[in-house]
Subunit: 418 residues, 2 copies
């Protein structure tokens, strides 16, 4: 197979399919989602069989338990994919929404109408459920999608892709509306990143290395989902009971996620009362603490933090802790070391809260709540394709709306430019 | 001067300045605009003197009359820059707008708040008034800007930059809020395009070559302003009087702009009545017509159109004309040859109008109005930094709002992720 020709065929097919999809009715799009949901459940055994091949290969290749866990497609995983599709059916179709409209002095009526982006390429790693998730969200928002999953999941993805194709057909949609890159050849990605004029946006999901490499090579706009170095700042006016609950949740509830707390900042006036208290709780959850000298006065068992610790995204039960003299110092620390993902202040003081929310430049800024809440589901978007750390186009959790663009539709009666 | 160090200093300075600017009050930002407006008028003679150097150099270098015209800064040009600034003062500050807000079942209040993009790099060609326009729009939207103008305008730009710096100082703003690249060394642009983490977005304005080269080299998101191959389709149900007015305006009123009509599509049923009529009018305005064989039956004096003509952005008094059998054929032609900028249908038939607006994928789609209306001023945005042909982030005319991003501010009372 000539990979360049193959990728070009996918991209041209997606572009053609996207023309019809852009004005496909919600009923037709939901019919696809419904067929897919049903066929996932019906084809459970086939899916598990294909998945077993991936699992065996992963074991033979000596891949880590964490990767094998992510690869696994069992009954409950299949059930939850099928239910996820029903959730997407229940979401409002964003396409066609008149976002704004106004009449100009010369009488023309200008409407700003939500439209699909067009063709979306999603590049992701080994979770096969991402295939169904990406396909469903892109299609509901009227986009054609080209999916490139991790090579470890190729057999699972091919089995899922067969069901996707069947469901597109049943719904009467162009079968090129969703396409899986059926080769694991790495050059396929390089050709996709050069398919200007055919592909409208690239969304890479995965580790920082993958995302950086895609962003550097791509000639097509990329929406990035970089790391989260999230902070909770416990202010001098914090309610320490809230602070304890929030910090514990932000660190411990699911430490491997991008919205987990990586650094805790504590005002010097409450360090003496708060640090021993939260320290004990974190110690109970086996969290390793790396602290500044002031922190280590109160938590003598803590390790010493180095400059690198302030930049670190541990994704693990490790926490950097720094005592700061003021809310300004906390904001400065976040500006310098943070990743503009999710940051929180715990305070009862409204002036400090306002200062923090105004000056911290992150996708999500919290007052008295856990950074773990940055999530499409928690925000009420129903589903998310990821969390953007970009400022252009979409910032924070990306749901259906964030997979759209807009166009201006202008209604006149012969108006011209004078 | 070490260009890399110099550019890095500009970018670091802009990033630092952007932190304060992001929450600068509207009063302070407007005070800058007001001081600048006043100083432009007061320093008229200095500006004209500096501009004369550029004009002389351009003449010595044998540059075209068109370029020299664009370079020229005379009294009326200076006056209109000063008035443009007053218009920007009158525009609503987009920063801080609560775009949406909702409460979740767990009690958290989520607000989506408009914030500046951060640091914007504008790369443009020889018009010195673009310097003031870009500076004023970026700053009003709370962004720091790094401006890189054409080398032909360097003396004019340096003189304007002195006034900008003075006005920033008078307003009490960081002088690094707006910075001009003071060298004409070409490598400066290359370094700017690599300033990831410091610069948030690049906006190139100018010819297609400039924009393509920036888009290919940049590691930072680029908002592109590509060409406009705009169409007017005269439907079988067109009011031919409206069609004549619109087509004439779209082609002749200002042919060198990106929203001028480049190809006219005419339904075969009205070709016999419409083509001689519009042909005569266009001939009177010295428009050269390049037609398909059917067109040339009705306009025997027209030249023969080649395949390249359907793709052409003439920016001149030249028009490609094609007779088509249906609205579907018109839509297909636009999908194949168009540039997704601005396209119009002239029709009295609502089904055809709806089909056209639903299926033509362009930034602005018109029913019975001229494509020349695609413009920030005409749309009521007050001012524009350009017209985006991208689908990501901003599409069509870009005003102040399009120079912003947003963040989520979440107010809680101790909520955590369960």
């Amino acid at each position: 197979m000539n990979i360049e020709e193959y990728v070009n065929k996918l991209a041209v097919g997606a572009k053609e399919a996207s023309r019809g999809l852009s004005h496909a009715s919600t009923t037709v799009k939901d019919s696809f989602l419904s067929h897919l949901s049903q066929s996932l459940v019906e084809s459970r055994e086939t899916l598990k069989g294909a998945n077993q091949k991936d699992i065996d290969a992963a074991k033979d290749a000596g891949l880590s338990k964490a990767i094998i866990d992510r690869l696994l497609l069992n009954d409950s995983g299949i059930q939850s994919m099928a239910e996820g599709l029903k959730t997407v059916i229940s979401l409002k179709d964003p396409v066609g929404e008149v976002m704004e409209g106004w009449r100009r002095p010369n009488g023309i009526l200008i409407e700003k109408v939500r439209v699909p982006l067009g063709v979306i390429v999603i590049i992701y790693e080994s979770r096969p459920d991402a295939t169904v998730e990406a396909a469903s969200l892109c299609l509901k928002a009227g986009n054609a999608a080209i999916l490139r999953g991790g090579k470890e999941a190729i057999n699972s993805n091919l089995a899922l892709y067969a069901l996707i194709k069947g469901s597109l057909k049943k719904a009467g949609l162009d079968e090129r509306s969703i396409q899986l890159v059926e080769t694991t050849d790495r050059t396929a990605v390089d050709y996709l990143l050069k398919a200007e004029g055919l592909v409208d946006v690239i969304i890479p999901r995965g580790g920082e290395g993958l995302i950086r490499s895609v962003a550097e090579k791509s000639r097509i706009p990329v929406i990035k989902h970089y790391k989260g170095v999230c902070h909770v700042y416990v202010d001098e006016y914090a309610d320490l009971e809230k602070a304890e609950r929030i910090c514990y949740n932000a660190k411990v509830q699911r430490p491997a996620t991008c919205n987990a707390m990586e650094t805790m900042l504590v005002h010097e006036k409450v360090a003496g009362s708060f640090l021993p208290r939260i320290g004990k709780k974190l110690q109970g959850a086996r969290v390793e603490i790396r602290g500044c000298p002031m922190t280590r006065k109160h938590l003598t068992w803590a390790k010493e933090a180095t400059e690198e610790d302030w930049y670190a995204e541990y994704l693990d039960l490790i926490l950097a802790v720094r005592v700061v003299p003021s809310v300004v110092a906390a904001i400065d620390h976040i500006a310098r070391y943070g990743s503009s993902h999710s940051d929180a202040i715990v305070t009862e003081n409204i002036t400090h809260a306002n200062k923090f929310t105004n000056e911290v430049d992150s996708a999500a800024v919290y007052v008295n709540a856990s950074t773990r809440l940055t999530d499409g589901g928690q925000f009420g978007m129903g589903a998310e394709i990821g969390i953007s750390t970009d400022k252009l186009h979409a910032r924070g959790p990306m749901g259906l709306k964030e997979l759209t663009s807009y166009k201006y539709v202008i209604h006149g009666e012969g108006q011209i430019r004078e």
